[in-house]
């Protein structure tokens, strides 16, 4: 994070998750919903799965001009180094869990890798918010959100369920994640410690 009373508040949020869990779809969905070409939404990069990126200009938040940079980190292990760097430089993480029962092991592997990266990170722990994707699929393919809560050990962390393709739950997870990230980044979480 960077910022002071006169400086902008720039937050970097890394979107992690298993391969094909919906990370890039989430970012592209955000970009499409917000409208390409708008001044406050940067165009996403398509770097052949290297990473996707969207910036959001939130305007004045708590007396400071706030911008959020959202990066989707590829799930394939080939880019492990990139992922590590991004996680180390992040103010917060949104973990995308695929809601399909068949993907639970993939979710667990990705979540375990994230936990390793966060454990290796210097300084205070950073917030992690959860988004359970692909809720548009037939119910018989899905596991209940409460099951994912338990499997991933979500605890009191913010989370939302939805469908990145249709944009359901996207604003909710962004808001939940940014609230805890802003609290931590600005020191407003001091009372919670």
């Amino acid at each position: 994070m960077s910022g002071s009373a006169a400086r902008p508040l720039v937050l970097t949020v890394v979107v992690c998750g298993a391969s094909r869990s919906g990370k890039s779809m989430l970012l592209r969905g955000i970009h499409e919903r917000l409208g390409a070409g708008r001044d406050n939404v940067g165009p996403p990069l398509d770097l052949n799965a290297m990473l996707d990126w969207v910036s959001l200009d939130l305007g004045n938040i708590g007396g400071r001009a706030a911008t959020v940079l959202l990066y989707a980190v590829p799930g394939v292990m080939t880019f492990d180094a990139t992922r590590r760097v991004l996680v180390h430089g992040a103010d917060g993480v949104i973990f995308i869990a695929d809601s399909q029962a068949a993907r639970i092991d993939d979710n667990l592997a990705a979540h375990g890798a994230l936990a390793e990266h966060l454990a290796a990170r210097d300084g205070d722990p950073i917030p992690v918010a959860y988004f359970y994707s692909k809720q548009d699929l037939p119910a018989e393919l899905l596991v209940a959100p409460t099951v994912l809560d338990e499997v991933l050990g979500v605890g009191n962390a913010p989370r939302a369920v939805g469908d990145a393709v249709r944009g359901e739950g996207v604003r909710e997870v962004l808001q939940a994640a940014l609230t805890v990230i802003l609290r931590r980044a600005s020191g407003n979480d001091a009372d919670d410690a």
């Binding site: 960077s2 604003r171 600005s186």
Partner: protein, 157 residues
């Protein structure tokens, strides 16, 4: 030239002047841009920053895989008409990355020399303290809610 923090302007100006660089970008290891000169579009800046951070991370990992005890340091591409210098350097604020694009009126050696000087000046000039956390004004959650609802085209509550 655009700099996020004013104290960076002098070292970067020196690097540009002495090395005859056309473009320069300074960013954190995660790709957050701190200063830039010569880029005219924000997309270009962010694309170059993202690619640069990826290259440095990938190169460091490659060094580790082949058993190098240290990073490879700078990555240089020297084309017919222009060259690119890409190198990480340590600062009191953590590891940063510099990207310098130079033409025929400069050289790798020149860029290297003045980049090293630039990195040293940044190390000396960078405020070493961690910026104090500053409380956001009360009610920022409501402003966040309003901002996101506006961005997503939803009515405020």
């Amino acid at each position: 030239m655009r700099v996020l923090e004013p104290w960076l302007a002098a070292p970067l100006t020196g690097l540009l002047r002495e090395s005859s660089a056309r473009l320069a970008l300074v960013m954190t290891a995660s790709g957050q841009v701190i200063a830039q000169h010569g880029f005219t579009r924000s997309l270009d800046v962010m694309a170059v920053a993202a690619l640069g951070a990826g290259i440095v991370a990938t190169t460091a990992e490659l060094a580790r895989l082949v058993g190098s005890s240290t990073d490879f340091g700078a990555v240089v591409h020297h084309g017919d008409r222009q060259g690119i210098w890409l190198a990480p350097f340590d600062t009191p604020r953590g590891r940063w990355i510099g990207i310098v694009v130079f033409g025929r009126d400069s050289s790798v050696g020149l860029v290297r020399m003045f980049f090293d000087r630039f990195a040293a000046e940044v190390r000396d000039a960078a405020p070493s303290l961690t910026p104090p956390r500053e409380l956001l004004a009360e009610g920022f959650e409501r402003e966040l809610d309003d901002s996101l609802r506006a961005l997503f085209g939803e009515a405020s509550r």
